[in-house]
Symmetry: C2
Subunit: 351 residues, 2 copies
């Protein structure tokens, strides 16, 4: 009888424990459920627990979930895990779910409509009990609504689609855009511009409108823009900033609002590419306060979006909706905050 090494050890079930403890399986089930402690004699409970430990029993969450009608999972859909804002967001949500024994199923859509559609369907088939969607573009509205109508609570976060009326953890992008504008205006900038994200994404629309409105209201000049940047990468931010800045100095903006820190990284390079200095010749305001913002050269002035907090709130909201689906949760809003560092200064301060 050679030892059968390598072969998987037989999985211990509740039945095995019942046999070992000389009780019925239903008794084992109760003995191992903390919420049923009162229903069982202390002595049997101890016997069962001992047998379970002895045998190395591990509960089967999937089986118990099937019976209980729950999966203890929540889908989290992000557009791009590589974008530094989504890591803290996912962490925040994960931590909120952890306490209730829920776990996230994480999917990365790469900002693609088709992939989002596939994932939403797949998450539904896995019977996630809620979905936290941070990857929505305006043309995803119908998709999200359909899922919600199928009875799965959908929480949108950061990238909301207000036309859907879905519960949302917002970030006040309007206030954020205004904050960026007012900061540049307060410093005395009279020619400003923005490097925008895709207008298929609601927050970028909001930032754009708010910035534009504040600048216009103050009578400053919003110089001709560049087209919205499709992908939120440093390289694309760099190209856009180059196009914006590589013009006759008399018409060149002295302050630029770049709607995302990763793109702002590229904008800082563009300034150097052109032999200009930041902030002496051009001030740059970013958005998000990503972890590297304090460590660029010069350190980046940026509008803080507390992604961890947004994620956490989204997780909490998802749990509430799971517990009480009928409830009218319209969600909450996380305010922006201007973080002034050294990439902004009064115009011409270097001359």
């Amino acid at each position: 009888m050679a030892e059968d090494t390598g072969s998987a050890p037989p999985r211990v079930t509740i039945r095995d424990v019942a046999l070992a403890a000389n009780v019925h399986v239903s008794t084992v089930s109760r003995a191992l459920d903390p919420s049923k402690r009162s229903l069982i004699a202390e002595a049997t409970r101890e016997r069962v627990v001992a047998a379970a430990k002895e045998l190395g029993y591990q509960p089967h969450l999937v089986a118990s979930g099937l019976r209980r009608g729950q999966t203890l999972t929540v889908g989290i859909v992000v557009p791009d895990l590589g974008n530094p804002i989504y890591a803290p967001l996912a962490r925040g949500a994960t931590h909120a779910l952890e306490g209730a024994n829920y776990m996230p199923l994480l999917a990365d859509t790469q900002d693609d409509h088709e992939r989002l559609a596939r994932f939403l369907r797949h998450l539904a088939e896995r019977r996630v009990e809620a979905i936290i969607a941070t990857a929505a573009r305006l043309d995803d509205a119908q998709l999200l609504v359909e899922i919600a109508q199928r009875g799965i609570p959908v929480v949108t976060a950061v990238r909301t689609v207000s036309s859907t009326g879905l519960p949302a953890v917002l970030h006040d992008d309007t206030a954020g855009g205004r904050l960026a504008a007012e900061h540049l205006l307060d410093l005395g900038h009279e020619r400003v511009a923005q490097v925008r994200g895709s207008l298929e994404v609601e927050p970028f629309v909001r930032r754009t409108e708010a910035f534009t409105a504040a600048v216009t209201a103050a009578g400053a000049t919003l110089t001709d823009g560049v087209p919205p940047v499709p992908h939120l990468t440093a390289d694309e931010g760099r190209s856009a900033a180059l196009a914006l800045l590589d013009v006759d100095p008399a018409r060149r903006p002295t302050g630029v609002f770049v709607q995302n820190d990763v793109m702002a990284l590229g904008a800082l390079m563009a300034v150097r590419d052109l032999g200009l200095r930041c902030p002496e010749d051009v001030s740059i305001v970013g958005y998000n306060d990503a972890f590297f913002a304090a460590h660029t050269d010069p350190p980046l002035t940026t509008v803080r979006l507390d992604a961890y907090q947004v994620g956490h709130a989204a997780g909490v909201l998802a749990l509430e909706l799971i517990a009480d689906p009928g409830q009218e949760h319209r969600g909450s809003s996380v305010p922006p905050e201007l973080v002034v560092r050294r990439s902004t200064a009064p115009p011409g301060s270097g001359a």
Copy 2:
């Protein structure tokens, strides 16, 4: 009869489809399973499919999984999603799993032994079919081995623990450390130093040893080090670099190997804090080639670790082990690559 808005729509099961299509549930099951297409009359299949679509039937992957003995999930454990190396790693793994309809359950241990222990247990209770562990410290060895012995394939990635003998997707940190050393030596540096990560983490041990060995072999001076940095943050990298550089210029290292790009971000600040210039006074070599490395000032010379590729390979390996647990997969190794940018130059090149 008012419309019962708001209440969850009743979930359609295979039974409902069977009723609608006038067949037995087992027939529905077969009709909807592509691999059983040959077992069923085309006409009935069409009828069933039509009924399913009509009713809006969605398969219940959890229930089918329970019966089939699979969950289609793989646990991925990372030390810190905020560390930019783990986002691409998770993406690589996710993409590898996607094709086989597997999804990751992602957990973030915050580099904490207790949290890792909790998560591993929890993942086991959820019956993940494999675990990709990238968060292992040397003192986690036993934990990982226990899980593997319970019959769940464990793949370690990046942060391997070689004493466990677990299948691993390695990155050749020894070659990486040597690459960093040789680069500085080739440039003519004679006093070098390193900012090390925790020696509880095998890759940092490897990088440290390889760097030290190469420097010593070349007869250069390895200046007194600073203690390993516990957390891989820019701030801690900055403090460590300050301690290293804020000394008598005659003894100050001219080249520093910082074993992680995030810490290198801090090291670059430390150089500026001291009124020194990089690379003229101090050359800095980072590790990982994180996305921001090309965008620091100066752009960071670094040893590239292709995290996406490691993650992808780990995902593929996990799937192989699921399909064939007995197999002897010792894993693969992803080579490092030196990416030379402008944070390194010959010593004294600015004087």
